[in-house]
Amino acid sequence: MSAFENLLSENTKLVAVSHVSNALGTINPIEEITQKAHAVGAKILIDGAQAASHITLDMQKLNADFYCFSAHKMFGPTGVGVLYGKEEMLNELPPYQGGGEMIKEVSFKGTTYAELPHKFEAGTPNIAGVIAFKAAIDFINDLEIDQIAKYEEELLQYATTEILKIEGVKIYGTAKHKSGIISFNINSLHPYDIGMIVDKMGVAIRTGHHCTQPIMKRFNIPGTARISIAVYNTKAEIDTCINAIKKAKQMLS
């Protein structure tokens, strides 16, 4: 937080921050960050791609100016997502793209744009994608996000306890408030090797730098292996995953 505060000044226009880190799983204190950003007159944009299907979101309480997330990380289709913005902000923003359906009136004297949200939805939209996205959101709402968060927390705790039983495992991201992932390495084994072997055993984990090279550099590692937990996972699947990791370690050591 102090590093953030050092960067923040009256000159700051926009603070952009992830709600949940995709590399470490840390839930950032975004309420506090939002308050601090607003205190110096900056706007705030929060990337909630790793949060939206995992933890409770309350836009009113949060008071962020912008909040975005992707459908494909919420069991929905690819290529579609949401940008939430406060109405006055969105009214202030000029359109970023021209096309059909976003124009109110066109003449040689000038052009006026359609009301929100049409102003930002130029051309033929991704209709099928948006309809499918709604089905994904309904799925989450039917299960209730609070219940999802509670269940996933249980799985995360269980998986963390179990993986730490494997000798040589180091977890990256051990914040008290975490969601969804365990990023780890085993001794000096390369995360790709671990990923390839567990893949053969039917376990899909992500390996690599997770597009967060600066943090990998900070830890001086080429990347990590990452277990991602979702509401559809079970404790039995965690066991399968841990056993696959044990087998990979044995094969590679």
Binding site: Y192, K200, M251
Partner: protein, 140 residues
Amino acid sequence: METIKEIQTEIIEEFEMFDDWMQKYEYLIDLGKELAPIEEQYKTEDNLIKGCQSRVWLHAQQQDGKINYTADSDAIMTKGIIAILIRVLSGQKAEEIVSADLSFIDTIGLKEQLSASRANGLVSMIKKIKLYALALENRC
């Protein structure tokens, strides 16, 4: 010296001995561990193969009309894969390397066993091996 085709046949036969892909992976790991080391001076930025998710260095040297390759990787499975390619192509004539039909990769099913991005890495390795051969061939 065996031909590229003969070595490929050998590798196909070796892989046929294994019943499942776990055993084939173990074999790849062994091949990776046995790969002759590359000289430290050749582990340069220029010798890194682009498109691989792990770091892979490849060095080529021409001797008596043949091209010799050495390589290394920080991931052992990747090292196993490049070790197989080196076994097939190192010590051959440039023109044969460039025109080599590496059908053994499909026959042993290596590519299908890799995820899309790792299969791309394999393609990059082959490309770099052939490019080195092409460059060295045209130099003399």
